[in-house]
């Protein structure tokens, strides 16, 4: 008979009823997916990135399909933090669901201001610091590419909020471990990885870049091996909980990340293909634990490192 298993995890102070959350920017504010999944069954929701001022976003096309992947160059379209707090956040009030807000700034100060503003909002369970967006001219990936700057952003956010701080790392670096280490020293409570890989596509009929913004961020199953490797490397070297993401489509994929060292996982592009992916993955992880007689998901975290 199946044992009753524990699926709850704690990610840097955020208590989640299961390890499955959503990747920022792929799940709106969550409500867009409410017709398809019971949001109460998610471990947490990470909402689309917010900035201090509203942003219109990039010109179209903003999306290109690639083999087993997607290039996007949305450009952080969002209504700005104030409108987000006033108009978007209240919509999630009825759910039993930690809300993690993804923030992006053009300067260190902007990150601090955003964190400070959200610190005063009770409905916010944690802050995910996006220092890895490849689709904006200023800030974004720039911060995530340099360990020292990544640390500076982290310190500024840390100083501005008592809420759990998750720093989202870019894979477009020579050493993700070097960045992770500095971010950990600077006071992050958790890490999330990976953001998208910098990529592009060319339209061979028009002989011009396909995306309106020329380059974009690659996500989806195509990038999964890179993401699993990043989690694996950082888990060995840095003592912080990790939210793993990049190409997760099913429970098996999620378990790969957990075995590599992720305490929780986020589902991104897969939502576009299967809007029920998040909940099905949570169910699948539970089944895997039951079938393998593992009582607690936390036992699985990083287990692939054991010889």
């Amino acid at each position: 008979m199946a044992v009753k298993v524990n699926l709850t995890v704690n990610v840097g102070g955020i208590q989640m009823k299961n390890p499955v959350t959503t990747a920022s920017g792929t799940f709106g504010c969550g409500l867009e997916y409410a017709p398809f999944v019971d949001l109460n069954r998610l471990g947490a929701v990470v909402v689309k990135g917010v900035t201090l001022a509203p942003r219109a976003g990039n010109p179209v096309p903003r999306l290109a399909e690639t083999p087993a992947g997607v290039l996007n160059s949305i450009g952080l379209q969002n209504p700005g933090v104030e409108k987000f707090i006033e108009e978007v956040l209240p919509g999630l009030a009825g759910y039993d669901l930690p809300v993690i807000v993804n923030i992006a700034g053009e300067t260190v100060e902007e990150y601090a201001l955003l964190a400070g503003r959200l610190d005063r909002v009770q409905a916010v369970a944690g802050i995910e610091v996006n220092i890895s967006c490849p689709n904006v001219k200023k800030g974004g990936m720039q911060f995530g590419s340099d360990p020292a700057m990544a640390a500076e952003v982290t310190r500024a956010v840390r100083a501005s909020t008592g809420k759990p701080v998750i720093v989202k790392l870019s894979p477009n670096v020579t050493s993700i471990v070097a960045v992770a280490r500095k971010v950990a020293e600077a006071g992050a409570d958790a890490l999330s990885m990976i953001n998208t890989l910098l990529g592009m596509a060319v339209d061979i009929r028009k002989r011009r870049p396909l995306l309106g913004n020329v380059t974009g961020g690659l996500s989806g199953p195509a990038v999964r091996p890179v993401a699993v490797r990043a989690v694996w490397e950082v888990y060995r070297e840095v003592d912080l909980p990790i939210i793993g993401m990049g190409g997760i489509t099913c429970a098996g994929d999620a378990i790969e990340f957990i075995l590599a060292g992720a305490t929780a996982v986020a589902v991104g592009t897969a939502n576009f293909v299967n809007p029920r992916a998040t909940v099905e993955i949570a169910e699948g992880i539970e089944r895997y634990l039951e079938e393998n007689g593992i009582r607690d998901i936390n036992e699985l975290v990083g287990a692939a490192h054991n010889e």
């Binding site: 709106g28 398809f36 976003g57 010109p59 903003r62 999306l63 399909e65 997607v70 379209q77 199953p221």
Partner: protein, 263 residues
């Protein structure tokens, strides 16, 4: 039309809820390549049978895979999605202007108009005679059909928007261009359009000039189809000379003619 398919899907829930102008987000294959769903308009609905039909052009790999599906196979779809066309007031005269496969969503609208006893003048354009779609079916619904082809092999020789313009503006509606709106159809109370972007831009220009309200159904590359990813942006007028991006999948695919920033 060569490479054009019609597919009937048993989907009672969708059939019951669908409004003209809405679309389905369809998983064409079963593997991770191609990865994304494809948006396809609802072309017709049979609520009694619980069936929904779509009509599509084999444009690339996704639609090619869809065309290869066998009868009886399950196809994953999300929908009905999007806003849909607004329905005319009772007794209002309307025109529908379609370019190529653009007739797909308009046909469902024309079906519904018939139900409410509204007759439309339908302007159908295509590259050539063989590519004119649903002509007979539209006539059977009781709507007036005016045809145009780029090569002149059928109807008006030229763009469908030129036909529309000519018909609307011909002296005494007698038809300088050999094609005219039927008696009483001009000016239409509103105009519905679907087709290539350039054609829609021209259509909006015409009706703006005439001061007639209208709605156009747009296409954009889609990720989620449900309003979550902000991929499917449509630039629209906003405030004083400003603009903003709206989601084709959520605030669209149907937009008021005057809102869209063409370019």
């Amino acid at each position: 039309m060569p490479g054009c398919r019609r597919l009937t899907l048993a989907a009672p829930g969708v059939a019951a809820a669908a409004r003209p102008g809405q679309f389905l987000h369809v998983r064409c294959g079963n593997t991770l390549d191609p990865l994304l769903r494809r948006p396809i308009s609802i072309n017709a609905v049979d609520r009694e049978k619980g069936e929904v039909a779509v009509m599509y052009r084999v444009a690339g790999r996704g639609t090619a895979l869809l065309a290869g599906r066998r009868e009886g196979e399950a196809v994953s779809l999300l929908g009905p999605l999007g806003n849909g066309f607004s329905m005319p007031r009772n007794g209002e005269r309307v025109s529908a202007v379609a370019g190529g496969i653009g007739i797909a969503p308009l046909f469902f609208l024309l079906q519904e108009l018939k139900e409410t006893g509204i007759h439309a003048a339908v302007f159908l354009g295509a590259a050539t005679k063989g590519s004119l779609l649903l002509v007979r079916e539209i006539s059977d619904l009781g709507h007036a059909v005016l045809l145009s082809t780029d090569d002149g092999s059928e109807g008006f020789h030229g763009a469908v928007t030129d036909l529309f313009y000519a018909a609307g503006s011909c002296p005494g509606r007698g038809g300088a261009a050999g094609a005219c709106l039927p008696e009483g159809f001009f000016p239409p109370g509103r105009v519905y359009g679907c087709g290539p972007r350039g054609m829609l831009a021209r259509l909006c220009e015409i009706i703006e000039k005439w001061g007639i309200p209208g709605e156009v159904s747009l296409e954009e590359r889609m990720g989620c189809g449900v309003g979550a990813c902000l991929s499917c942006a449509c630039k629209t007028r906003h405030g004083e000379g400003g603009y903003r991006y709206r989601r084709v999948c959520a605030e669209g695919p149907v937009f008021p003619a005057g809102e869209v920033v063409w370019q």
